[in-house]
């Protein structure tokens, strides 16, 4: 890997706020701002971890190894969180897939000293600019969900694996923070395809890899800004809850409780 590629030289230049963008894209103001979100139905989720592997493959998340795992340095963009309640023999176990909550008020963004992480205004997605990140790990500590991951080393992959990397997503390098981007590259591709066809993005054209892979349809993805979308409907259900709602981070990942009927 070249030093140039590692360094911050390819950093996105800071953009002037607002006006020039609107001038470039006259339609931008007309276009509704999306709020991409996800609903995970715990009643349907069977913890098969299809989402985990699909995500990691899609996003070139390097697999771990025994040493990294023992040191708790495996990188997981999405992971299962088992929650066991009660005492033997009356115990209940729930397993929650946990990923970046894509908060509407993300505590991680506030603390970033260099603007390496941001909440995209148009999409509501919390993004991470690897070429900007200085690796101070303030965001990882500020995130109450502990879902931000840090590259403690350069990924140690066999050379053969490189041929199988997804060209849409950049490989990360040591010293930067990474996290779920809601497969942002897929959104861009879907957008481009829609634009090439001269139409707006249709529901269902953009889904992250985890949602696509979910065999039990436990994950539903869509635009929360559209009150009639499936996610919006599910998010309003009585079974819906969000993790640590009381913190006011307004996550855009909703869960549906298992076993509660409406």
């Amino acid at each position: 890997m070249s030093d140039e590629a590692r360094g911050g030289k390819s950093a996105a230049p800071p953009a002037a706020p607002g006006a020039p963008r609107a001038a470039e894209e006259p339609k931008a103001s007309a276009r509704r701002h999306a709020r991409w979100g996800m609903v995970i139905d715990l009643g349907r989720c069977t913890a098969c971890q299809g989402c985990v592997t699909a995500c990691h493959q899609e996003n070139n998340v390097p697999p771990s190894n025994p040493e990294l795992a023992a040191e708790r340095r495996s990188i997981r963009w999405i992971d299962l969180m088992p929650v066991m309640e009660g005492e033997y023999p009356h115990v209940r176990l729930s397993i929650l897939p946990v990923t970046c909550m894509q908060c509407e008020k993300p505590p991680c963004i506030k603390v970033c000293p260099v603007g390496a992480t941001f909440l995209s205004e148009e999409e509501g997605i919390v993004g991470q600019v690897y070429s900007r990140c200085i690796g101070c790990r303030y965001c990882t500590n500020a995130c109450p969900y502990t879902v931000r991951q840090f590259n403690w080393f350069d990924p140690n992959l066999p050379a053969t694996y490189r041929d199988g990397a997804n060209p849409d997503v950049s490989l990360r390098y040591k010293g930067v923070v990474e996290k779920c981007t809601f497969c942002n590259h897929r959104l861009q591709k879907a957008r481009d395809a829609a634009a090439a066809a001269g139409r707006e993005l249709l529901p269902g054209e953009y889904t992250p890899a985890c949602v696509e892979a979910c065999p039990t349809r436990a994950m539903v993805f869509g635009d929360l800004a559209d009150p009639e979308s499936e996610v919006s409907n599910l998010a309003r259900s009585k079974r819906a809850f969000r993790l640590m709602e009381d913190l006011g981070t307004e996550p855009k990942i909703y869960y549906l409780r298992e076993g509660v009927r409406e």
Binding site: S10, P63, D163, P167
Partner: protein, 758 residues
Amino acid sequence: MVALGLGPLAARALGTAGRKVGRRQPLVWTEKLAPSICQLCPSGCGLRVRLVNGNPVSIHGNPLHPVNRGGLCGRGAAGLQLYYDPDRFTGPLRRDDDLIGKFGRTTWPAALGDLSSRVRYAAEAGPGRVAVIRGGGRSLASELLGRLVRAAGSDWVIDVGGGAGAGAADEVLRQMYGTTGRLVFDLANADFLLSIESGLCESPTNTMTFHRGLAALRAAGGRMVHAEPRLGVTGSKADEWLPIRPGTAGVLALGVAHMLIKEGFARSEFLATHVRSFDDWTDESGATQPGIRSWILRTFSPQRVAEVTGVDWERIIRVARAFGSARRPLAVGPVDVATPFQTFDLMAVHTLNAIVGAIDVSGGVLLGRQPPFPALDAPFDPTGGPAGAEVARGRRGPTLDEFCEQVLGGRSPPITVCIVHEADPVFWAPNGHRVAEALRKVPLLVSTSPVATDTTECADLILPDALWIERRSDSVSVDADGYPVVAMSPAAARRRADSRDTADVVLEVARQAGERVARHFPWRSYDEVLRDRIGAIDRSRVGDTFSDEHGSTWAQLLERSGWRSASYGNAEELAKRLDESGGWWEPAYHHGEWRRLSPHGEHRIDLRPVERSSEPDALRRPQPPFGDKLSLYVHPELALGVEMGGSLPYLQDIGSPLTERGWETTVEINAATALRLGISHGDRVTLRNDRGVVTAVARLSQGIRPEVIAIHTGGGRVRAGRFAAGVGANPMVLVATRLEPGTGLSRIEPTFVEVRRV
């Protein structure tokens, strides 16, 4: 502030920021999605492989495939790592003389010539000299291998796909249902599931069917009670967890059955028409024979069952009442967990299902419908006599233990050639060292594994199979709601190694192995066999190629009403449609069909075998040994249960879903027990008994019986690629086996271990 304007732009930059992967990648790349079929478990999920400039970069589900409908479990996508595995065999290998585990390159013609001449000699020398050990895969290669063995006049077709619990389900079918095939659980349509040590979610086989079925059950508001010594992923789906003692699944099932009978929940109409020997009956001589009903009432009182299983009798009664009053109750037994009394456990569960009439109804036990072409590995008379399933019905297949006995006992006829396909018995079997010894003793042991395993270590010849995404692949499955699904697809990606399809290898070997064998293989290539099958499907005039969900629902509606509107008119069109859609299926299950299986027209489930299979030990409270020992409960984990796995680091990552880390074998200990033993969370502990020692990491839990220690399989491979060798520990070294008296199958023995902190 700079940062305020950064957001939108950075969003665009996200795709370009940082280092681009694949630096040799041209700026413009070509992309396509090629269909394939996952072979990591017998589900045979449809895949779509994303290729960029010819390199596969990701694996997705095929949305048309009825088994997975675009979804994939944790293993599916990881299959790519086998394709890019740096430690894959690059071509055929031959063992260096006298050196075990040392291999040198050979050529395909030489290797195949060698194998076929040995098969030929064996076939000419007499029957019973060729053997095959197969994993659970349901592809043509497996069938052709079975056929090769039978053509060479041998019956040694050993299926080890079910692991240590193998064979029990076949016994249930054979003894209780009087048929062969596969039992399918219509989980999606049940409204109360009693799952007893079922391992539905941990099961490494039929993953997709179980998971999707369970999700549908729960989403529709179905209730679920799960009984198992530990609370795992399957238990997490349940409304209630019954912590039973290990090895008491059958007793619990019959305890529930007892309550159902006693409280009048038994569906007498079903029992009267479809079940034999439930009530007392009169034999030909006029003597009254006791039925199963009285045996259950006599033997399985809630108090007794509570004492054996360790669960409060109030809970058992409550669960039984809920189960009995459900509209569509269904009980599932140990399908993929090895238990000490597996056949009894399964038969007890099926007895329970029979009592509530949950057989061959929506939301009950279904009998998988076979596809419209014969299985190529069905037993036949190689001399040309009448072939048939009838011969097979009364006979079960040979077991791995019998194979070892034959080889190590020096019995005649000697097995001179053995082919191991999609299996790693040395690693998975409880008596691995004995299996290894037997395999080494076979004069020619052939492995088709594409990666090193503990079994390839014993091989004389390694003929690496091509991976599913780099060859024409196929799969026959009846597990999705009981209807046959035949998936076929062309090769998706180019080959990375000098490997060959095992199906082609078998055909080539058969051709060279002399007329005696060759005449049973009229095909020149894999493609020709498939073409035969396509012809048979076309002629059957049923079913259709895969279509999207709306199309499938429509086809189901049509088929149920006796109509059909196929998307193809002839075999050629069918072949084309198969390549596009990924396969063919019969979209509806016809209830009542299984009864026609009987030669006598009227078919009944026989319940007597459950009593026959109940060993006295199975009905007693398990006796713990003296001293401070814990009962060992061995269970699978979905991600680690891949027969040939280990070389997939993503699967090591997600190995045990209840722990954070992966890449190690964890044991679960009840927190109170751990406190007593001075073990804290994350400690390394040793599990020791007179058979061996295993070191693992302790996980303290409230969700496990206090006298039990649970350990998962899938760790501790000795010979494997860089990602698997030495990772975790193999609990099988602690487990002893014994022969089940009724069936002759080998079963794990109740195992106790001493647990110490390292």
